[in-house]
Amino acid sequence: MDKNNVSGGQTILIVEDDEFLRSLTAKRLEKENYHIEVAVDGENAISMIDTVRPALILLDLLLPGKDGFEVLKKIRETEATKAIPVIIFSNLGQKEDIEKAKALGVDNFLIKANFTLDDVVGKIKKLLVDK
């Protein structure tokens, strides 16, 4: 079987307010046969998580309204969603940000500029396989 089909249509929720970054990420992940849902802000993300129940969430930090930290907190506090793997994918990335996200129970923290989308695919696969 083609390795692109390993993911078997698992749903990934991309929470990203920048349209171009969002579409690039979606495009790259769709190539891996993931089913992609997108949210453009914090509130949007929280309601999407309830309805979509993604296998993994790719979460930006700087979002309009509720920021990524609040969304992460909400995910971890909710019984039904607290086991969903979350990767923070942001251009924030000072020590305090990383530590704050770690304390809230994030699975990985990737600074967008420091990684390629191929790297991100690798991280996602690792988390979904480990799960």
């Binding site: 920048d18 495009k27 000072q94 020590k95 990985n108 390629t116 191929d118 690798g122």
Partner: protein, 366 residues
């Protein structure tokens, strides 16, 4: 200033007369009147002359006496007037001085107010600058991510085939973006340093735990660069060191960042921590960051801790930096009362070592 008229002068209409003359005239007048009165009363000539003498003498002496007192009085008044004049001149001067003093005080107050305002403005500016740098660098990373990912997708062929020529150009674009991102990352670190450069917050720190937390930040990078990242700790518990954990993390980040940057694929980066008492008289812990990277050329070893210095072989590699990392690291280690040094062989790798004293005493000695 008006000078008061001396009070001893007798006033006659508009004119003033010396009292000596005044009394003299009165005495002579009275003597004559008295002489006539005595002669009219028919008293013997010898008697009235004898009677007149003491009266006249008395009047004359009185005249002189009064004249003398008046003269003294006049002198006193003159002195008094001069003194008043002098004092009032002084009062005027004091008033002037007082006014000047008030003016200076006001100026001083205004200046102080201005300085306080200026200082406040500078502080705000400093904060604004830091915030500006932080925000812009973060913001800059967003479009740079987009460019980087696009180039990368083009290079992977995800967006369709490219000619060999196009591929080379896209590769250059991708590398340039990588360099720009590296510079922005360095700027963020430097500015972060700048913000709280003055205040060190020393507390007991569990050094192995701090190393673990810094290494966590590098696991992703190590994975994508295919560099093995390992740490070695002694089996026994190490004493805590007195350190500023944020500043110390920065040193480790710098050393690890350099080690990762200059270690090729398949290489190894190792962090170890141990008791340094074997090597030095003071009790301290020693941290070593070793890599199997490009090394530091021997002729450049003296300059490695200089500000903005970058090794010639480091510049040749595509990874970029500001040349501030080691300069800042040495400053931080020295503020902790420790030492930082290295061993290196070009082409084989580098080991950076630093020590942090266990006791606070060593710190105050610095």
């Amino acid at each position: 200033m008006e000078i008061p008229r001396p009070s001893h002068l007798v006033e006659l209409g508009q004119r003033t007369i010396n009292p000596l003359i005044f009394w003299g005239v009165i005495t002579i007048f009275l003597s004559v009147v008295l002489g006539f009165m005595v002669r009219e009363a028919g008293v013997a000539d010898g008697i009235h002359v004898l009677f007149l003498v003491p009266v006249a003498a008395y009047l004359i002496i009185m005249g002189f006496f009064i004249g003398y007192v008046a003269k003294l009085n006049r002198e006193r008044s003159r002195l008094l007037a001069a003194q008043i004049h002098e004092e009032s001149a002084k009062v005027g001067e004091f008033k002037k001085l007082n006014q000047e003093l008030e003016a200076y005080a006001k100026q001083l107050f205004d200046k102080d107010f201005e300085l306080t305002l200026a200082n406040k403005r500078l502080q705000n500016l400093e904060q604004a600058k830091s915030k500006f740098v932080a925000v812009t660098t973060h913001q800059l990373r967003t479009p740079l991510s987009a460019i980087k990912w696009t180039f990368h997708m083009l290079l992977q062929g995800s967006l369709g085939p490219t000619t060999a020529d196009q591929h080379t150009f896209i590769e250059k674009g991708y590398e340039s973006t990588q360099r720009m991102i590296a510079i922005i990352n360095d700027l963020l670190n430097v500015d972060y340093m700048d913000v709280d450069r003055a205040d060190y917050n020393f507390l007991p720190v569990d050094l192995p735990a701090l190393i673990d937390s810094v290494m966590f930040e590098f696991t992703n990078q190590a994975e994508s660069q295919a560099v093995a990242l390992k740490s070695f700790k002694p089996p026994s518990t190490l004493p805590r060191v007195i350190a500023d954990p944020i500043k110390l993390s920065m040193v480790l980040e710098n050393l690890l960042d350099n080690a990762m940057k200059y270690t090729p694929k398949g290489g190894q980066v190792t962090v170890s921590v141990g008791d340094a008492r074997m090597n030095s008289a003071e009790s301290s812990l020693e941290v070593t960051v070793s890599d199997t990277g490009i090394g530091i050329p021997s002729h450049e070893r003296d300059k490695i801790f200089h500000r903005f210095f970058r090794g010639s072989n480091a510049i040749k590699t595509q990874t970029d930096g500001t040349g501030l990392g080691l300069f800042i690291s040495r400053d931080i280690i020295e503020k902790h009362g420790g030492a930082i040094w290295f061993e290196s062989e070009a082409g084989r790798g580098t080991q950076f070592h630093f020590t942090i004293p266990i006791n606070r005493n060593n710190l105050s000695k610095k």
